[in-house]
């Protein structure tokens, strides 16, 4: 530790002006600082976690991830753990009285105070302890007993939600599983009123928004995820000691007014929750793997991976999941009643309804109400005054004493944190257009249609930076085959009750045949809307068929007009012969009408066989035609997930 002038002296002097009594603090402060140096407290991991110090990228030393000036008491506190610690000790001598708008440093930095007090044993006679009334009232309201990590899982029609979000819940002593709605959620989020999505995306990518912690009743979050966004929620109850829970609370309090620059991909919600857990459990190193890329679901895996950290998991199905489940339990007649009651096309006086048993009536009314709310939440109200229709259904329901007696939604066998690893590497060999090749394929993250489904959403794909290189025999040699920075597919089946639109989009570079026979890497954007159905129409159906209307825009100087724009249909099916064996036959056609006049098409059969959670075998067969040239490809590959 290099010698530094004592910054606390300046602070003490400043405080002298505000409060004459601190003048007497100096000898005891000297003593505390002296002991903190002997103990080398500023080098301790606990101090570094409390201050969110992280190693510099290039130069030696550290910097704090906190970006709010007020988080630091020393002028160079962001980069100097020692001077920040000494300035913190000095600030504790302040006798600023707490008001609704201002706090004494002992209270504003209460987690630091608590830790330093434990290390140095503050003498209350010489360093008077502040009452910190606001903190204690806040803590009493929360009445903490434990902390639960909350993970809203992907929604059915939204692959991007696979990426996820995490928050913490502070569980109160007087609550149980039935009243957890009353707990408080601690959420870390970018704080902005920006409504322009593009501006939001750009600012978010480059840290343009302040990220802040906030608290709200957990029920607001449950309503948001379960009812509005139709996402199932997973709750991971953490095994923390009462002391560690207190540290979490004190640190949340300390971070209340503090912002961090928010970055979507690394310094995001999930990263800071890990940081918070590390403050409570400095023995854990949760953030190490997430410095550059923190995917919420991966951070959940990291937490689950820590031995004994997760005590229990709870599954909270979304409104849509409950409706799906209960519709499956119904007879076709009951389903038909739900369909008409929820749309106001029939009433409880309908003879078909009146003839049902009381439990069946209860079931039909409850699901009708829930389905009506689902329609409202997705902006498709079937009637002008859905609130009144909902009320009518509920009043009918309240007149039935019987219970529907439906079993609860079964907990999925595989949790989101138990699916295959999100990174994938594959090695294979095959033959294309008369030339043998070997292929190496890698994808940093996340899941594609042919990957094993357990823990993921069926029919959903989101991949970042998938790329493949091949080494061909003969004149072609080694080359990059494709690079796809982004690919999303959402194949969501439709039926009488759910009518989602399927869609897909991918952006990247792929080989494209030219009339000359050359195959440059051509940049393209491709995608479009589609429709999908399961055959037969049940939750556990093994077959899903789809049609898409796809468009392609390609750009490359080697193309005749530097670009090509095409459109055309595609059809295909995802068929699960067994839990392990999936096949996808497909056919697609693109008619280029601007920049080019070629009609390109491809037909193929992709197959995957799951060996175990992290290994899968694939066999891809295809025939393609571009610029009036046709060729076949066969590829057998082995993929590993990690």
């Amino acid at each position: 530790m290099p010698f530094r002038p004592r910054p606390w002296r300046a602070i003490v002097c400043l405080l002298c002006l505000l409060a004459p009594c601190v003048a007497e603090a100096a000898p005891y402060l000297d003593d505390l600082i002296g002991r903190s140096r002997e103990l080398r407290l500023s080098e301790r991991r606990e101090w570094h976690r409390l201050m969110h110090y992280t190693d510099n990228w290039v130069t030696p030393g550290v910097h704090s991830l906190a970006d709010a000036r007020r988080f630091f008491l020393a002028a160079d506190g962001k980069t100097n753990p020692q001077s920040e610690l000494e300035a913190t000790l000095a600030a504790f001598f302040s006798d600023i009285q707490e008001t609704d708008k201002e706090q004494n440093p002992q209270c504003a930095f209460i987690s630091r105070y608590s830790w330093l007090d434990r290390q140095l044993g503050f003498d209350p006679a010489r360093l008077p302890r502040q009452p910190c009334k606001r903190f204690h009232e806040w803590r009493d309201t929360l009445n903490p007993q434990g902390v639960t990590l909350i993970f809203p899982a992907a929604s059915l029609n939204n692959p991007s939600s696979m990426y996820g979000h995490t928050l913490l819940r502070i569980d109160a002593k007087d609550q149980d599983e039935k009243t957890r709605l009353l707990a408080y959620a601690v959420n870390y989020a970018a704080n902005t009123d920006e409504t322009n999505g593009i501006a939001f995306a750009i600012n978010g990518l480059f840290g343009g928004y302040p990220g802040m912690f906030s608290m709200m009743p957990y029920y607001l979050k449950v309503r948001e995820y379960n009812d509005m966004e139709n996402r199932d929620v997973w709750e991971y109850e953490l095994n923390l000691t009462p002391g560690a829970v207190d540290v979490v609370l004190m640190h949340v309090w300390e971070l209340g007014p503090i912002y961090f620059d928010y970055y979507f991909f690394d310094e995001n919600c999930s990263y800071y929750l890990l940081e918070l857990l590390e403050v409570a459990r400095p023995d854990l190193d949760l953030t190490r793997d997430f410095r550059w890329w923190a995917i919420p679901s991966d951070t959940v895996r990291e937490v689950v991976k820590q031995k004994g950290l997760v005590r229990k998991t709870v599954y909270r199905p979304s409104n849509a999941t409950v409706i799906h489940h209960r519709l499956e339990l119904m007879s076709p007649e009951e389903q038909a009643l739900v369909s008409s009651l929820s749309r106001g096309r029939a009433s409880a006086s309908d003879p078909g309804f009146a003839g049902l048993s009381p439990p069946a009536q209860a079931r039909v009314l409850e699901v009708s109400h829930d389905y009506l709310n689902y329609l409202r939440a997705t902006g498709r109200s079937p009637v002008g005054d859905p609130a009144e229709l909902a009320r009518t259904l509920l009043l009918e329901r309240s007149r039935i004493g019987a219970s529907a007696g439906d079993p609860p939604v079964p907990v999925p066998e595989v949790r989101p944190d138990q699916g295959h690893g999100t990174s994938r590497i594959g090695f294979g060999g095959g033959r294309r257009d008369g030339a043998n090749f070997v292929e190496l394929r890698a994808r940093p993250t996340y899941h594609d249609l042919m990957d094993p489904d357990a823990g993921y959403v069926r029919g959903a794909q989101i991949e970042f930076f998938d790329f493949a290189v091949r080494d061909y025999s003969g004149s072609v040699g080694a080359r990059v085959e494709e690079v796809t920075p982004l690919s999303i597919v959402s194949i969501s089946p439709r039926n009488e009750f759910f009518q989602p639109l399927s869609w897909q989009i991918d952006i990247g570079w792929a080989r494209r045949r030219l009339a000359s026979g050359a195959e440059p890497l051509v940049f393209g954007v491709h995608g479009g809307p589609g429709l999908a159905w399961t055959v037969p129409d049940t939750l556990r159906s093994k077959t899903m068929v789809y049609v898409f209307l796809e468009s392609t825009l390609q750009a490359n100087t080697l193309l005749e007009n530097n670009y090509a724009l095409g459109i055309g249909p595609s059809v295909g099916a995802l068929i699960d012969f067994t839990d392990r064996w999936r096949a996808e036959p497909y056919a697609r056609e693109q008619s280029f009408f601007a920049g080019d006049t070629d009609t390109a098409w491809s037909v193929g059969l992709r197959q995957r066989y799951t060996l175990d959670r992290d290994w899968a075998l694939r066999l891809d067969l295809s025939r393609e035609r571009q610029e009036k040239q046709s060729w076949n490809t066969v590829l057998l590959s082995l993929h590993h997930y990690f």
Partner: protein
């Protein structure tokens, strides 16, 4: 197509916001939950509302702000806030006579274990009074108090609302 592209590009990032959501500026927030939701694209964007808080209501250590104190709901508001935030679910659970929101309301009101069955039954019987047509949260709070008061066994809990 363009819309989908934009939606897709925007929604790949975690915690992107649909900032208008969640913008709870006053003490009431239940009605806000249904704002701004229509069509596929908003739904796609909404997935990641996660990203924004966009309001100071629940900021921690900001002192008193309307219904909250340093980020937690002030005790005088607890029941009203709960009803406001869970209107649809609460009306549903009441009409069924059980459920998580009903259990939570009973807990908030302080209903003892031995009175829970009565509480559920009375709520089920009076759901139309507690949630009259076009009711506001204030109406429901007043009506709930009234319903409790007029039941012999539950009258003792009316004061806690």
């Amino acid at each position: 197509m363009r819309k989908i592209v934009i939606a897709a590009v925007l929604s790949v990032v975690p915690a992107i916001g649909f900032a208008q959501q969640n913008n709870i500026g006053t003490c009431g927030w239940g009605a806000k939950l249904f704002d701004g939701q229509s069509g596929v694209v908003p739904q796609v964007l909404a997935v990641t509302t996660n990203g924004t808080s966009g309001n100071q209501t629940f900021a921690i250590t900001t002192g008193t702000s309307g219904c909250t104190q340093d980020g937690v709901v002030r005790s005088t508001w607890k029941t009203a806030m709960f009803i406001d935030g869970n209107k649809d679910r609460l009306a549903r659970d009441m009409s069924i006579g059980n459920g998580e929101t009903l259990d939570s309301l009973a807990h908030l009101v302080g209903v003892r274990e031995e009175d829970r069955a009565t509480f559920s039954r009375v709520m089920q019987a009076n759901v139309s009074l507690i949630f009259p047509s076009g009711s506001t949260t204030d109406d429901s709070v007043v009506a709930l108090k009234q319903v409790l008061r007029s039941d012999r066994e539950l009258a003792q809990y009316a004061a806690s609302i």
